[in-house]
Symmetry: C4
Subunit: 245 residues, 4 copies
């Protein structure tokens, strides 16, 4: 059995090598990673390996052969496709693995993230929307030990950091947000996109979808004059008719 067989060949659609390809294809059709933008990394907790999408590849055409695989202990590449360079996001992904105990990270160039970064200052905020309940509060149930989700009455807050010339230069600000927002599962990068992490790829996918839904809604609310974090029943005071005309 070749090393590639061991690392990236599997009939299981949930194998990290297959899942990264499937999800990149799905995200491409959401306009989240066109033009080679964005990326995904998944940790295989059984083997303690990181699977990483490469830089510069067309995300909807990616195959397992295109992936980098890294030993989570030694941080050495177990496989590195000749054709590609590792993603410039790799140091950011490693920070999420190491500091946030992430099991997977999704990075997109979602236009909803870019637009929110132009509308909001240092923090994206939205409150009192059912979809918020899909996101973690950061707190844990003291009895069951399970993570507690945000409630309908909570305000979701996601930090926004400034973009840099190169993605690896974002690392300092990423660490800073880890300190200032210990409960956040995402960081928006202004004029760039978003990074979302969580304990498993299933959870991260759900977090990313819920956040994107909420950013899309926040932009629609903003365009109608409604502050996305305004109180329940306050919306009518802000609402403007005929704003889009």
């Amino acid at each position: 059995m070749s090393l590639d067989d061991v690392l990236i060949r599997s009939d299981d659609p949930h194998h990290p090598a297959n899942l990264i390809c499937t999800l990149c294809k799905q995200f491409f059709h959401n306009n989240w990673c066109t033009g080679t933008g964005g990326g995904i990394s998944i940790k295989d907790s059984e083997t303690n390996r990181y699977y990483l999408a490469p830089s510069g590849v067309q995300k909807e055409q990616m195959t397992p052969d295109d992936l980098f695989v890294m030993d989570a202990q030694t941080l050495e590449y177990l496989r590195a496709p000749e054709l590609y360079r590792p993603s410039a996001c790799t140091p950011l992904f490693l920070a999420c693995y190491q500091k946030k105990d992430a099991g997977a990270i999704i990075h997109t160039h979602s236009q909803n993230a870019v637009m929110c970064s132009l509308i909001f200052g240092d923090e994206f905020r939205i409150a009192n929307i059912e979809q918020i309940k899909a996101l973690p509060s950061g707190e844990v149930d003291p009895v069951t030990g399970k993570p507690i989700a945000l409630s309908f009455f909570d305000t979701l807050k996601i930090p926004i950091i400034e973009n840099m010339a190169h993605e690896d230069e974002l690392i300092d600000d990423l660490h800073k947000t880890f300190a200032e927002y210990p409960d956040t599962c995402a960081v928006i990068v202004r004029r760039h996109g978003i990074f979302v992490w969580g304990p498993t790829i299933d959870k991260v996918k759900i977090f990313n979808e819920a956040i994107d839904y909420l950013m899309e809604l926040a932009i629609k609310m903003y365009k109608m004059g409604i502050p996305p974090d305004c109180g329940i029943g306050e919306e009518k005071k802000h609402l403007v008719r005929g704003t889009d005309a």
Copy 2:
């Protein structure tokens, strides 16, 4: 033949267990149930069983194995997948089955429903649009006994109720709207989404599509300054062009 074989295995694409999965996948791609939001329940009238999508599952990846099945007589679960909890919507679905003689219920987090709930007060209204004719008036033809649809000249009215911390707390307001709007086939939940019911899943799917189309159109009309329930020929009086209008 195992119980699962009896309850959820079928080659018929119209079997409730298959149909719920197919429709959830289709609705996911409409942005109606991303981030595990939304749900569907179908009554199998032959066997008198309710099929229910579980809580917290990724709707586009759902399989028949993920479904709950309940005896409509005893309200006991005939099958309950170990991995999942029953949907928090279950009491609401049961209310629709019991009080409205529903054959199926669709619940989505449609952004059109959320936006309409921010624009409108206690009632969503739209009038004089062809698509309204896809919806039931609540009246029945005295000769044929068949339900009569709304006419082009009618006003569709859908009640809007306030969201609560947990979905099961919506039950009182749901019963109240059953009393106040005996003919409605839908309720919008503010800052949350919509519930739509009807005699069969085919009908409910059509109702939900038609309502979503009309909510989408109402938002477009509103943004152009046109009240969605204004009279035919009144639209030009309200219309605003660009911002200098």
Copy 3:
């Protein structure tokens, strides 16, 4: 060979019975015929038969078995599915066949058509857009006998008629537009949708796509303050910045 085999069974994807189903499915995903709205009819010129989508069917699920087939000579139904009623559009489709020598008709509930019918008065107009060249001018090349397309510098004009309680009541206004707009290949019905016809289903599909593209663009131009039929170079005089905010 049964009558059904003769009328609606074919391995040829271009057979009218197959093509209507394929296109209805494609149009459903364009939001042109959700909620059972819209319809298609194709004339099989070899056999002189009209193929018609039924009323009230879910357009993305339609199969050849659901279709009505009519003898173009006698106007009698050669097949009529028990489950369905003929489309209320049938008299309108027949008018297009008989008066405009149509080979096919597409009817959609396109929201772009509905919105244009709210913005425009009795005529939709757009000028100086490349896509206009996909549409027929109504004139014929005197040498080759081939239809001449509109030029980039032409203005596309599509009449808008008022909607009625029932589709068959549109027939008088449809005949009136045939007289007043002898060259048009389409009629917009206010607050309802659009009818498009042409010599073959391939042509009608292209006309419908091009018109929908142009209606979508006209709405975008209108929202920016630009009259869709304004002269080349005039757009900057009308343009307003920050209109959507």
Copy 4:
């Protein structure tokens, strides 16, 4: 082996004849080439042949049999399908091959390109957006000889030329932009669409996706009052909320 077998039959999905069809289908679903608009040409550098999509064909239904193939040396057609005329874009594609050493050209009727051509004057400009880094600066690394991409802090500039009655009349203005914008990989044609070229079809596809993403974003920024090429941190000064802003 017939000539057609040599020119257009291949099991390789990356063969130009297959790739043009796959990409046209994909682009159709982006609303980039509905109504027979748009086109693609790919140079097979091994055989020195140009593959060209024909005029007037439905782009999502195209097959290798529909393609024109031209000898890059003699500019004679090696195959010309009886049913179709060569695309009116052919002289423009040849100009890109001959003057810009292109390996492929994509032409779309993207509404984002048309809207940008109505908003902007003679040049589309956007700055300080991560996605810009997917586009070439036109400069080459003196050591590696590889093309250098634009940086996050750069301004992407794409010339806009006026549309003409026939596509081949655009040739003079195309040559003019080659002279005035030697580093551009794209030209927007006002009220028409966009042409994008590059060394390989993979690169051109990425360029086209990135530019379309940036045009879409520029329109959103413009509608919120933000000049798409404004400096980082300047956006809040321009931002307008709702209509009362």
